[in-house]
């Protein structure tokens, strides 16, 4: 099905409203085109997520349109050998030859076993097309990318407690904001332009900002207090703070715990809920001493503490279990583990509790709501470790305990409730996130684990959201997991797996194991070097996309405001023979005879109302699909005339229930993860059958700190005396913007980009100075770097930012600049993953020596 990758207007001097794809955040923009050429980008003043602003990356990206190394024709590989640094020996071919070759291979694979096809991309507006393609083809191996890298564990904590995919803070009312291993408000996280502006406003208003991070990031630079911490020990700190909060200060929101969590649920000796003998519902102990089902209208004031016996069964409230359990996590022990001073642990906990003003209320539009002007936001830095789920949930329980979840002033989920979705309560009263928000797999309720059929091994992780980091393991060793086939074809675009994955040597071996790889690319990056066929892709200023581009599960500003929906439209045509990859998927589907099935699946999954569903025998281009989606969401009267001035369509103000959902929800958040007991037993049965060594330690309902391998095995190699730690830079997105010359100019002028950061005291001990070249060895790989001596990093760490150290043969701007952090990390294996979430461990110890 051909598509119109053509702009709507072609006047000589036009501002074309569209949506940025410089990162995943979908900021509304206006593209300035003169004489057929893009000359400028501005934030769209009508779009609530940019309000006329734009970041360095978004502003600079149009330069990439005119990069001389852009691919204009398809190419095929001449060299059968694939590996790091191997010259692919490209020759240009016609589209016909390329598509004939691809179709022939896919036809063969589909006949043998369609699951041999793996689809890899991190291009979210294209998910709808590739998902329908994958389903029509018959493969479950979809969307291999590194979304898990940041959020496999942290997202789980948000889904369990908020019913949302992401988290944020109520900048407008918060008086005390904690960023824990993340830089919300410093242009490197979700909804960045909004968050940066609101964070600046909040600080100007006098809100306190505390940043917990081994490196003094841009976010920490704006903090009232920077708390350096040893990488991977965040769980120990969070548990000690919970202990201080509950057992020392006695500061927790009893009303909230009783109404909105499972704190009152009685726990039996086997760790499971004590259930009503008839209804099977979890029991609570009411103030009158009687045990009643949690939702019995007769329950007046269930207790949080104490012991009881119900029908001869001893039990105690989950809160009592947690309280007793936490007593062992003393600030003194935590201080030794984390290096955060005992005084700081106690003081920050007390400050947070005080700022949360437990019991306070505020009147908003006639609704009396809790006011908790304090919140903690967490992400990859704290969560991407061995015990990632427990750590993320431990941090998030600090929020829960003060009752600040999704209420004014507090921590908030990103749109757990929307115009056509809401979380539900299961039979136990526990919160189940809406499918529209959870998107992939729901971490609760736990699924039934089974022998994997998918190369991301998600069947072994019944409490995970997504396990994309496991593709590298499943593709390398399918037989180990009982997977009865091997990956044979990879359709890849817009995710640089070689650079963004743990341990490039392992990734190279993984890619080399896939016999046939097709890469859609604007220019040949490290991953595309492994391709057999390369197809010239369009830039996002050159394509239509499905509507809305900004999926509300992550890309509509949370809290009060408006529901807004953005449409991407092209401003210019692709150069040479380049085409939008989504269009090519439709072409391939047509050649495979799958188009009708693809559209049939799309009719059910693309948000099309009955009236606007497609005739699958006729089909539609991406542009027409977007039009039908827009009519379905916005009304029949939508036409493309609506996107002449702005690509942002505002439907209505959020209701109070959408802006501050928690007080209106009956579903409860867990302080006690009872479901993990059964989930663990079920996983054990499967892994034992497979003869797999597995880690069941985190399958416990009470929270714990699980040291990463780098901590638990530190005695084995004392000369590996430093941790390597990563941080993000506001003007670089992943590995995406690094080849942009304008960005590169800033990067080269900034000492914290292409260097390796070492604390002054550590550098003195090792005799290192600014500019020294060093060899860096982890237990997994070696690398090199250039020293920057600084006060801004924990003395037991070296800091390496971003996704740098590129080596693609075609690169001519950033090649060999900076050091690759991911290079030093372990590949996924049972020792280096969180078996609850599939999060891969980002802790590694290194030895640093001066070269020459």
């Amino acid at each position: 099905m051909p598509d119109e990758a053509k702009p709507l207007s072609k006047t000589d001097d036009a501002w074309v409203p569209s949506v940025c794809m410089g990162c995943y955040n979908c900021c509304g923009i206006r593209i300035h085109r003169i004489n057929g050429k893009v000359v400028d980008i501005e934030g769209d003043p009508e779009s609530p997520n940019s309000r006329g602003h734009i970041c360095a990356k978004g502003k600079a990206r149009f330069l990439d349109l005119y990069d001389p190394k852009r691919l204009l024709k398809p190419m095929k590989r001449g060299n059968p050998e694939k590996g790091l640094g191997v010259d692919p020996q490209w020759t240009e071919i016609t589209w016909d030859e390329a598509l004939d070759t691809i179709t022939a291979r896919l036809t063969k694979v589909r006949e043998e076993d369609p699951r041999k096809l793996v689809i890899a991309h991190f291009d979210m507006p294209g998910y709808g097309i590739s998902k329908a393609f994958g389903a029509a083809f018959g493969t479950p191996n979809l969307h291999w990318n590194r979304a898990d890298y940041c959020g496999a564990a942290p997202h789980v904590a948000n889904l369990l407690l908020n019913g949302s995919f992401n988290g944020e803070l109520d900048f407008e009312r918060s008086n005390y904001m904690v960023l824990w291993g993340t830089q919300l408000g410093a242009i490197v996280e979700t909804i960045p332009l909004h968050a940066a502006n609101k964070m600046a406003e909040a600080r100007a208003r006098g809100a306190k900002l505390v940043v917990i991070d081994p490196f003094c990031t841009n976010a920490a630079a704006k903090a009232d207090e920077w708390v350096p911490i040893l990488p991977g020990t965040d769980g120990a700190l969070a548990l000690a703070m919970l202990n201080v909060m509950i057992n020392e200060l006695g500061q927790y929101d009893r009303v909230f715990l009783k109404s909105s969590t499972n704190a009152t649920y009685l726990i039996g000796e086997d760790g499971r809920y004590l259930r009503h003998l008839v209804s099977g519902k979890p029991l609570v102990l009411d103030a009158d001493g009687e045990a009643k089902p949690f939702d019995d209208p007769a329950v007046s004031d269930p207790v949080l503490e104490g012991n009881c016996t119900v029908d001869g069964r001893p039990g105690k409230p989950a809160f009592e279990c947690l309280k007793e359990h936490l007593a062992k996590f003393t600030p003194e022990d935590a201080s030794k583990i984390t290096t955060v001073p005992v005084e700081t642990i106690r003081r920050i906990t007390a400050e947070f509790c005080e700022a949360a003003s437990i019991g306070a209320t505020v009147d908003i539009d006639g609704h009396q709501l809790p006011l908790r002007p304090a919140g903690i936001h967490f992400k990859r830095g704290s969560g991407a470790h061995k015990g990632g789920t427990h750590t993320s949930v431990s941090i998030h329980l600090l929020n829960l305990m003060v009752g600040n979840l999704d209420v004014p002033g507090g921590q908030r989920g990103v749109n757990p409730v929307g115009p056509f979705w809401a979380p539900e309560a299961d039979e136990d009263g526990m919160l189940v996130p809406a499918q529209h928000i959870a998107k992939y797999n729901k971490p609760y309720p736990a699924r039934d684990p089974k022998t994997p059929e998918t190369l991301d091994l998600n069947e072994l992780f019944p409490t995970a959201l997504f396990t994309r980091g496991m593709f590298a393991w499943g593709i390398r060793e399918p037989e180990r997991f009982g997977i009865p086939y091997e990956a044979e074809v990879l359709l890849h675009c817009r995710t640089n797996l070689m650079m963004n994955s743990h341990n490039p040597e392992t990734m190279a071996a993984t890619l080399a194991k896939i016999p046939f790889q097709v890469s859609f690319a604007t220019f040949v990056d490290e991953t595309t070097e492994f391709a057999d066929i390369v197809l010239p892709d369009s830039h996002d200023y050159e394509r239509w996309d499905q509507f809305p581009v900004n999926d509300p599960y992550a890309f509509i500003t949370p809290g009060p405001g408006e529901w807004y929906w953005l449409m991407r439209q092209p401003a210019v045509e692709p150069p040479g023979e380049a085409k939008p990859w989504t269009n090519v998927y439709l072409e391939i589907a047509e050649r495979l005879g799958l188009l009708e099935e693809l559209y049939t699946i799309g009719n059910d999954s693309w948000g099309l109302s009955e009236k606007h569903k497609l005739d699958p025998t006729v089909g539609a281009s991406v542009k027409e699909i977007a039009l039908r989606q827009a009519k379905s969401l916005l009304g029949d009267d939508f036409t493309f005339d609506r996107i002449q001035e702005t690509a942002c369509m505002i439907t209505r103000e959020k209701t109070i229930e959408e802006a501050y959902p928690r007080p209106f929800l009956t579903a409860r958040a867990p302080i006690y993860m009872e479901h993990l007991i059964d989930a663990g037993e079920h996983v054990r049965a499967v892994t034992e059958k497979l003869g797999l060594e597995w880690d069941f330690a985190p399958y416990t309902p009470l929270l714990n700190y699980f040291p990463c391998h780098a901590h638990s095995h530190s005695h084995e190699a004392p000369d590996f005396d430093l941790f390597v730690v990563n941080f993000k830079i506001p003007f670089i997105t992943f590995s995406v913007t690094v080849e942009n010359l304008w960005i590169n100019e800033i990067a080269r002028g900034n000492p914290y980009t292409f260097n390796v950061m070492i604390n002054r005291i550590t550098a003195e001990k090792k005799g290192l100075r600014d500019g020294d070249r060093i060899r860096i060895e982890s237990h997994f790989a070696d690398g090199e770097g250039t020293v920057k001596v600084t006060e801004l990093i924990h003395p037991d760490c070296i800091g390496i930012p971003g996704t740098l150290g590129h080596w693609a043969r075609a690169y001519n701007v950033s090649k060999y600049q900076g050091t690759s952090f991911n290079n030093f990390l372990p590949a996924p294996s049972v020792e280096f993953i969180d078996t609850l979430s599939g999060q891969t461990d980002s802790c590694a110890r290194v030895r640093v020596t001066k070269i020459g």
Binding site: D13, H32, I34, V39, D40, I41, E42, G43, G52, H53, I54, C55, A56, K59, A60, L63, Y66, D67, P68, G185, A186, I187, P192, L193, A196, N197, M199, A200, R203, A204, C216, N218, A219, A220, A221, K222, W226, P228, P730, F731, L741, W742, I743, E745, I746, G749, N750, P751, Y752, N759, R760, I761, T790, E791, L792, I793, H794, P795, N812, V813
Partner: protein, 209 residues
């Protein structure tokens, strides 16, 4: 008479560098040259360390030494509003102004290439002009925008609204200035300071926070 000025709130700047790229795009500046930059420095010692971001640009001084020193009168303060500009037709690239500017905000264009290494990619917008090789170039307060009542590109772009462009002299306000705030009260209320006051250049870029 200086009419316009800028107030930069150092508390709001998070060092994201959006302004630097905005300026680059707006002026199609030659490779390696930035009319505005964010200077960074570390303060304190670990663990009581921090970093400071200080955006810098031409101060459009009332008593501009660069204008004073120019042998060809290429450097001048615009009559109507005091914006300090360089007339490239008159500039002989002698560099006297580069030495005279105490703020290091004048740049000799040695190679006007922009965009890609070794190539001349033409991104000139209808309303901006690229500085040719051999001349001195600098921040022009985006006079082409200001004349239309639009704030400079760096101001408009800044995600945290750390930069404020407006009038330092209300008496000079005209119809096209209606969107611009009055800066005199911002300056006096916030203990604003300017850089290198001992140079007596009477800068029009102020810092608060």
């Amino acid at each position: 008479m200086s009419k316009y000025g800028m107030v930069i709130d150092l508390d709001r700047c998070n060092g994201c560098n959006a302004c630097v790229i905005a300026c680059k795009v707006e002026h199609n500046t030659a490779n390696g040259i930035h009319f505005t930059k964010i200077l960074e420095r570390e303060v304190g010692t670990y663990p009581n360390a921090n970093r400071q971001f200080v955006p810098v640009l031409c101060n459009h001084c009332e008593d501009a030494p660069c204008v004073e020193v120019c042998p060809t009168k290429a450097s001048y303060s615009r009559e109507k509003d005091g914006i300090v500009l360089v007339d490239w037709d008159k500039c002989i690239g002698c560099g006297a102004c580069v030495l005279a500017c105490p703020y290091d905000q004048r740049f000799q264009v040695k190679d006007e290439s922009t965009g890609f290494l070794g190539s001349l990619v033409d991104f000139i917008k209808a309303d901006t002009k690229r500085a040719p090789s051999g001349v001195i170039a600098k921040c022009d307060f985006c006079y082409h925008r200001v004349d239309e009542g639009r704030a400079p590109a760096c101001v408009e772009t800044c995600p945290t609204d750390a930069r404020m462009f407006g009038l330092v002299d209300e008496a000079l306000r005209t119809e096209t200035d209606k969107e611009f705030p009055a800066l005199d009260r911002v300056v006096s209320r916030n203990n604003a300071f300017s850089l290198l006051p001992d140079k007596n250049t009477r800068p029009n870029v102020y810092y608060i926070g």
